[in-house]
C-alpha cells in the first residue's frame, strides 16, 4: 500500500489526468449547450404549434375561400389565366391546410421545471453519444439520447429517471494508459465538433421565421398585447369579407 502512496505519476499518466480534467470540463459545456439547443427547439416548436392552431388554420380557411372565389371568377369571366389563378389558389389552399393541420400543430406548451432541467443535464452527461466507449456503446447512447430528448420535450420526469437508471456506463475497458489517452482525446475532439455543430444549429434556428415570430410575440406581450390573438382576429375578419364576396359573386353568377 505504501508503495502506492510514494508512487509518482509517469508523464503519460500526468497527461491522462490532464486530459480527463479537460474532458470533464468539456462534458459540462456540451451538456449545457445541448440543453440550450433543446430548450430553444422546444420553445419554438411549442410556439409553432400554437401559431398553427390559432392562426394557421384560419389562413387555411381563408385560402380555401380565396380559391373558391377565384373559381367563381373563372366561371364569370372564363380565360386561361383566370383558370390558372384558380388552380394556383387551390394548390396554395392545399399547402396551407397541410402545413397547419400536420403533426407540428399538436406541439404542446413547453415549460420545463428547474428539476427537469437538472435531470436532463444529469442524463445527458451520462448518455451523450460523444462520450461513447465503443461502437456498441455509441449505438446505445444515440438511441438513449433520442429518448432523452423526447422525454424532456414531453416533460416526462419518470421517463427521464428511467433512462438515468437504465444506463450503466461500461467499465474502463482500456488496456493501458496509451489506449485511455487515445480514447479521451477522441472524445474531446468529438465534443468540440458537437459544440461547434450546436452553435451552427442555434444560429440557423435563431434566423428562422418562427424564431423571429417568437421575438415579435414576446415584444408584443411585454406591451400587453396578444399578437397571435390579434392576428387571428384580423384573419377572421378577412374570412368574413371573403365569404361576403363569395356570396356576391354567387348571386352575380346566379343572375346570369
Amino acid at each position: 500500500m505504501s508503495r502506492h502512496i510514494t508512487h509518482r505519476l509517469k508523464p503519460e499518466e500526468e497527461e491522462l489526468e490532464r486530459k480527463r480534467a479537460e474532458l470533464a470540463a468539456i462534458k459540462a459545456i456540451v451538456v449545457d449547450r445541448e440543453l440550450e439547443l433543446t430548450d430553444r427547439r422546444n420553445e419554438l416548436a411549442a410556439l409553432e404549434g400554437s401559431y398553427l392552431r390559432q392562426v394557421g388554420v384560419l389562413y387555411a380557411e381563408l385560402d380555401e375561400w380565396t380559391a373558391k372565389i377565384l373559381d367563381l371568377k373563372a366561371r364569370l369571366r372564363p380565360s386561361a389565366s383566370a383558370q390558372h389563378r384558380a388552380d394556383t389558389a387551390h394548390e396554395q389552399a392545399r399547402q396551407t391546410y397541410e402545413s397547419s393541420h400536420g403533426e407540428e400543430a399538436k406541439a404542446k406548451d413547453f415549460n420545463p421545471s428547474p428539476d427537469l432541467k437538472k435531470l436532463f443535464r444529469e442524463a445527458a452527461r451520462r448518455v451523450h453519444p460523444d462520450f461513447a466507449a465503443d461502437p456498441a456503446d455509441l449505438e446505445r447512447r444515440t438511441r438513449l439520447m433520442a429518448d432523452l430528448n423526447r422525454a424532456y420535450r414531453e416533460e416526462d420526469e419518470d421517463a427521464l429517471q428511467r433512462i438515468l437508471d437504465e444506463y450503466d456506463e461500461p467499465g474502463d475497458t482500456d488496456t493501458g494508459t496509451g489506449a485511455a489517452l487515445v480514447r479521451i482525446i477522441r472524445q474531446i475532439s468529438h465534443a468540440k465538433e458537437r459544440i461547434a455543430a450546436i452553435g451552427r444549429e442555434l444560429e440557423t434556428l435563431l434566423k428562422s421565421e418562427i424564431a423571429q415570430l417568437k421575438r415579435e410575440v414576446d415584444e408584443a406581450q411585454q406591451k400587453g398585447c396578444d399578437m397571435l390573438a390579434e392576428l387571428a382576429a384580423s384573419v377572421r375578419a378577412k374570412i368574413q369579407v371573403a365569404e361576403k364576396e363569395y356570396s356576391l359573386l354567387s348571386q352575380e353568377l346566379g343572375s346570369r
Binding site: Y59, P129, D147
Partner: protein, 347 residues
C-alpha cells in the same frame, strides 16, 4: 418532401422536436407580415383619427368611404399597398352603385394578370422604359399598376387632375409616361408629376426626379432630381430612398458621400422590412441590367440574410458580388475574396 429536406436541420441523435420546413416557414412569414401590417395600421389609425373614422364609415357601408379606402389600398397610401384589399372595398362601393369604384374595378380587372399575378420580371416587361435607358439604375416608382384607360377614361382623369385631385394627377402623369400616342407625352407627364409632387405626393416626387435624372420631357438635371428624390425619400418612399442612395453612392447631383449613402441604405432596409418583398424585384432588375452598386447591395443583403422571406444564401450573395466585382466594385471584390477564402477547405 423535398422542400422539407432543404431546410431540415440534421441531427444525429434524432428525436427532433422542430424541423424547419419551407412551407411552414412561409406560413409563419405570412403571419408576421400581416401582423406588421396590422401594427402599421393601428399605429396610423391611432395617430390619425381620420383614418379610423374612414375605416369605421367604410365598414358601416358608406360607399364613398369604401371607395376612398379602396383607393388607399390601391395606391398604398397610408397602408400597405394591397390590390386584393383594394378590390374588396371597391366591390362593396360598386355594389352600392358607386361609379368611380366600378370604373376602378374595371381598370384592375381589365388587366388582372398584371394586378394579381406574380411579381415576375415578365410583368415588368411592360415597363421597359424604366430600365432600358437607365444608365445607372435610378428607379421609376411603379406605385400604380393599372392599364392605360381609353380616351374617355383619360378624359375623366384629366378632369379630375384639373380640379386638383392629386391622385388623379399622379395617375394621369403615369399614363402619359406609358402612352405613346402623343409626341410630347413625357412633357405632359412631367407637368402632372410636378403638380402632384408640389402638393407633397411622394410617388410623384420620386417620378419627377426620375424624369429629371433621365432628361425625359425636361432637360436632364441631376441636382434637381436629387432634390425631388430627397423629398420623397423623407416620406419613406422606397424607390426614392434607393435613388438617393444611388445618387450619394455615385455622386450624381449631390457630392459623392459614402456615409450618406450608407445611412440611406440603412433606411432602405428598415422600410424594406416594413413593406416586404415586393420591392425586391425592382432591385433585381436593376442589378440584372448591370448596376454595380445595386449588385453589391443585393450581395450584402443575401450575405446577411436581410431579404424578406428569403433565407440567407452565400451562393446568391457571391453571385451578385461576382457581377459587381467584375465591373470593378472594390467592396464587392473584397467580399468575394472573403467568400472564396471561407469556401476553401481548411486542411
Amino acid at each position: 418532401m423535398s422542400d422539407e429536406s432543404e431546410l431540415a436541420l440534421t441531427r444525429k441523435e434524432g428525436g427532433d422536436s422542430l424541423v424547419l420546413s419551407r412551407t411552414r416557414s412561409e406560413l409563419v412569414a405570412r403571419g408576421r407580415k400581416d401582423a406588421a401590417a396590422l401594427e402599421a395600421q393601428s399605429r396610423s389609425s391611432s395617430d390619425d383619427s381620420d383614418e379610423a373614422e374612414l375605416r369605421r364609415r367604410a365598414e358601416q357601408g358608406d360607399a364613398a368611404a369604401q371607395f376612398e379606402l379602396g383607393s388607399k389600398y390601391h395606391r398604398g397610401d397610408g397602408v400597405l399597398q394591397d390590390y386584393d384589399e383594394a378590390v374588396r372595398w371597391y366591390r362593396m362601393a360598386a355594389g352600392q352603385g358607386q361609379v368611380a369604384a366600378q370604373c376602378n374595378i374595371r381598370l384592375l380587372y381589365d388587366n388582372e394578370d398584371e394586378v394579381f399575378g406574380d411579381w415576375s420580371s415578365q410583368e415588368y416587361s411592360e415597363y421597359p422604359y424604366a430600365f432600358q435607358d437607365s444608365d445607372f439604375g435610378f428607379q421609376y416608382d411603379h406605385s400604380l399598376c393599372v392599364p392605360l384607360p381609353d380616351a374617355k377614361g383619360m378624359q375623366r382623369y384629366r378632369l379630375a387632375a384639373d380640379q386638383g385631385d392629386i391622385a388623379a394627377q399622379h395617375t394621369l402623369a403615369y399614363f402619359y409616361v406609358r402612352s405613346d400616342e402623343e409626341p410630347d407625352n413625357d412633357a405632359a407627364a412631367v407637368k402632372w408629376f410636378h403638380h402632384s409632387a408640389e402638393q407633397g405626393d411622394a410617388a410623384s416626387q420620386c417620378n419627377l426626379g426620375f424624369m429629371l435624372a433621365h432628361g425625359r420631357g425636361v432637360p436632364q438635371d441631376y441636382a434637381a432630381a436629387a432634390i425631388w428624390f430627397r423629398r420623397a425619400a423623407e416620406q419613406d418612399r422606397i424607390p426614392a430612398v434607393l435613388n438617393l442612395t444611388l445618387a450619394y453612392g455615385l455622386g450624381r447631383g449631390v457630392l459623392r458621400d459614402h456615409s450618406a449613402a450608407e445611412n440611406w441604405r440603412i433606411k432602405l432596409m428598415d422600410l424594406w422590412d416594413a413593406t416586404g418583398d415586393r420591392w425586391y424585384i425592382w432591385y433585381r432588375i436593376a442589378a440584372e441590367q448591370g448596376d454595380a452598386l445595386v449588385q453589391t447591395m443585393l450581395g450584402s443583403w443575401w450575405h446577411r440574410g436581410e431579404l424578406w422571406c428569403r433565407p440567407q444564401s452565400d451562393e446568391e450573395s457571391a453571385k451578385w458580388y461576382g457581377l459587381a466585382a467584375h465591373q470593378g466594385d472594390a467592396d464587392a471584390q473584397f467580399q468575394l475574396g472573403e467568400y472564396y477564402h471561407k469556401e476553401q477547405p481548411k486542411n
